[in-house]
Amino acid sequence: MSGPGKSAAILRADHIAGGVFIALGIAVFILGWNLPFGRLSAPGAGMLPKLTAGLLILFAVIIVATGAASEKLSQLPWSDWIHAALVTGITAAAVSLYTTLGFLITMSLLIFTLLVLVERKNIVGSAAYAAALTLFAYWLFAIALKAPLERGLLWF
């Protein structure tokens, strides 16, 4: 008499996590198929990747097998996902523009966008903060520490 709400059918956090790692281990086996395992007396380039992929799958299977005690997937706290997605997206945009636009422009835009879009801060204040912080970092790295920063569109 198993009803639809029986806990055995509920997907748990460890089932998902273990499943992802099993998939990753299989992907490593497929991608590294051509790498020679070699012999024990002459181990090849594929030996450690395949051994570690095997271990990854083994431990992931154990986690899946013992996953019934883990949290329900719906119980995981996901309230921060919008923040995480926005920060990741804005940072990814900055990274893709970094070598083209250079340090000063990209970092000013990154900080300004994070403050305005994610934190809903005042535009003028955010712009001033972004410019001041970027200039300080430029002074610290490029001038004080003489560490070269990407110039991009700018000439200095």
């Binding site: 956090a13 998902i16 996590a17 790692f21 990753l24 490593v28 991608l31 590294g32 790498l35 020679p36 024990l40 007396s41 002459a42 181990p43 090849g44 380039a45 594929g46 450690l48 990747p49 570690t52 992929a53 271990l55 990854l56 431990f59 154990i62 986690i63 013992t66 883990s70 995981l76 706290p77 996901w78 921060d80 923040h83 995480a84 920060v87 990741t88 940072t91 990814a92 900055a94 990274v95 970094y98 340090f103 970092m107 990154l110 900080i111 994070l114 403050l115 934190e119 801060k121 903060y129 912080l133 970027t134 970092a137 790295f141 520490l145 003489k146 560490a147 070269p148 920063l149 990407e150």
Partner: protein, 506 residues
């Protein structure tokens, strides 16, 4: 006498004004790193690693080490005043430290934490001075089989001591080892998993992975609405503990120092574990265990001393054996390697000025931290008034600069971003990313020594059992695995489970 002569040589290096300056900068930045939520010592050291590229190796390692042990001091300040552990090792200090603060004894708690940290840190350096050189000499007997066994022991020990379950920790370590195989195989020249991206030929760097997992990952999972700080800074005259408080803290500091150092030598997140073990020990030994959680002096003195001593102890395997005991030490090792200095048994003889200068700088650094942390606590605390919403964009900028500067490679920055997302996911699913970083760091050494051992023996696995040192190390692995499995089978809630629960609760 030989040690004293060497130490004198070290002080002649460490007391040079330029070296003193970088030790001071390291301690200052470390204190700030320890205080600020969102950047722990690992992210702090990784982000600031590029700043050291223009320095000579001695100044570089002195400054980075200052950041590391300075962060242990800084972490206690936010724990006591705000009940926010700036970094994981300060979790235990939150409990009684903040309870003391609520009773109006914040200054005394800060003073006890700082003095305890100083004594423990100094004890740790004395032990390091005495133990590291003979251990390095002993390690000269190590060949590939011994190194393989030692690295396996490191991973098993990490799994045994970890707050996560055994399979979770080993899975993370295997994941790290797997990532460490990306790039050109140095023995055969094969490209492995590089997907025609030339930058991946050199493999995945430790810095982008560490900064991504621990710096960016933390920011992604911390929306600013969740960070609320109510800063109260104690006055200077309130800093002195009473005579009773001094008396209550004496033995916990002594026990924490000894315990912390020996736990620090063991691979894993030693400084975190040491603070928990010290807290549990003090509670057990106390005549008034009911006071713990309500402002017990021993609950601050013990864990704070233990985590500082442990962070010094963690340098022993790095300096003597060339083996990292945790991710922060791994980044420090990477810093030495970037400067062309391989840490390990030959370091003492090949680079005595660096080795002893570094050791001596730790004596000086501990004094600096004591001088910095007590009188300037009010100034440090004011940094916490910067709203988190303005702080984390700055941290992201430093993450990008720091990672990019290592190789001037935008691919590294992409790796950092990807690892940030991975770190966010791992946190959601309760995986500790520290073993991943450790696996990544030891992967090249492990692979090389494993393959060399097999070639040496003509493919005979028995080589690991025929060499006495390797055999002993592997036997310890078996015992630890057995203990871990036994513990899991009877499912007792031991101190590791309590540590995990305490960390989750905080």
């Amino acid at each position: 006498m030989e040690v004293l002569d060497s130490l004198l040589l070290g002080f002649s290096v460490a007391l040079r004004p330029d070296v003193l300056f970088y030790a001071f900068v390291g301690c200052l930045v470390g204190t700030l790193v320890g205080m600020l939520p969102g950047i722990g010592p690992l992210a702090g050291v990784s982000i600031l690693l590029p700043l050291t590229f223009g320095l000579d190796p001695t100044k570089a390692i002195v400054m980075l080490a200052g950041i590391y042990y300075g962060s242990q001091y800084g972490g206690s300040t936010t724990s006591i005043l705000l009940r926010i552990p700036g970094e994981a090792a300060s979790v235990m200090t939150c409990i009684d430290g903040n309870a003391m603060a609520r009773k109006g004894r914040a200054g005394a708690a800060l003073c006890i934490a700082a003095v305890g940290s100083f004594i423990a840190g100094t004890f740790g350096v004395i032990m390091l001075t005495l133990i590291a050189p003979p251990l390095a000499n002993f390690a000269l007997r190590f060949g590939p089989p011994e190194y393989t066994a030692l690295l396996v022991l490191g991973l098993i020990f990490l799994a045994y001591m970890s707050t996560s379950s055994l399979p979770r920790t080993l899975l993370m370590a295997a994941f790290g080892l797997m990532l460490g195989t990306i790039g050109i195989d140095v023995m055969s020249g094969h490209f492995r998993f590089s997907f025609d991206i030339p930058e991946l030929g050199d493999g995945i760097g430790i810095v982008p992975v560490a900064v991504g997992l621990f710096g960016l990952g933390e920011i992604l999972s911390t929306p600013s609405r969740n960070v609320k700080t109510n800063v109260v800074s104690p006055k200077l005259r309130e800093l002195l503990p009473t005579r009773t408080e001094w008396r209550q803290s004496t033995w916990p500091i002594a026990r924490g120092s000894v315990l912390g150092f020996f736990i620090g030598i063991i691979p894993g997140s030693a400084h975190i574990i040491s603070s928990f073990v010290s807290y549990a020990l003090e509670r057990r030994l106390s005549k008034h265990p009911e006071e713990f959680g309500k402002g017990a002096v021993a609950g601050v003195a013990g864990p704070e001393s233990a985590n500082n001593s442990a962070s010094t102890g963690a340098f022993v395997p790095m300096l003597a054996l060339g083996i990292p005991t945790g991710p922060v030490i791994a980044v420090l090792m990477a810093a030495l390697l970037i400067h062309g200095i391989p840490p390990g048994p030959t370091l003492v003889n090949d680079h005595p000025k660096l080795f002893w200068g570094f050791v001596a700088s730790m004596y000086v650094g501990n004094l600096m931290l004591l001088a910095l942390n007590l009188p300037l606590v009010g100034a440090f605390v004011s940094v916490l008034r910067i709203p988190y919403a303005y702080l984390y964009p700055m941290i992201i900028m430093f993450c990008v600069i720091g990672v990019y500067q290592v190789n001037n490679s935008i691919v590294d920055v992409w790796i950092m971003l990807i690892m940030g997302v991975v770190g966010y996911g791992l946190k959601k699913f309760n995986f500790d990313p520290a073993p991943l970083v450790l696996g990544l760091v030891i992967a090249p050494i492990f692979e090389m020594s494993l393959r060399q051992s097999l070639i040496m023996s003509g493919g005979n696995w028995h080589i690991f059992l025929q060499r006495p040192i390797a055999l002993v190390l592997l036997l310890i692995c078996v015992v630890l695995l057995g203990l871990a499995i036994y513990g899991a089978v009877i499912a007792r809630r031991d101190w590791r489970a309590k540590l995990a629960a305490a960390e989750a609760g905080e």
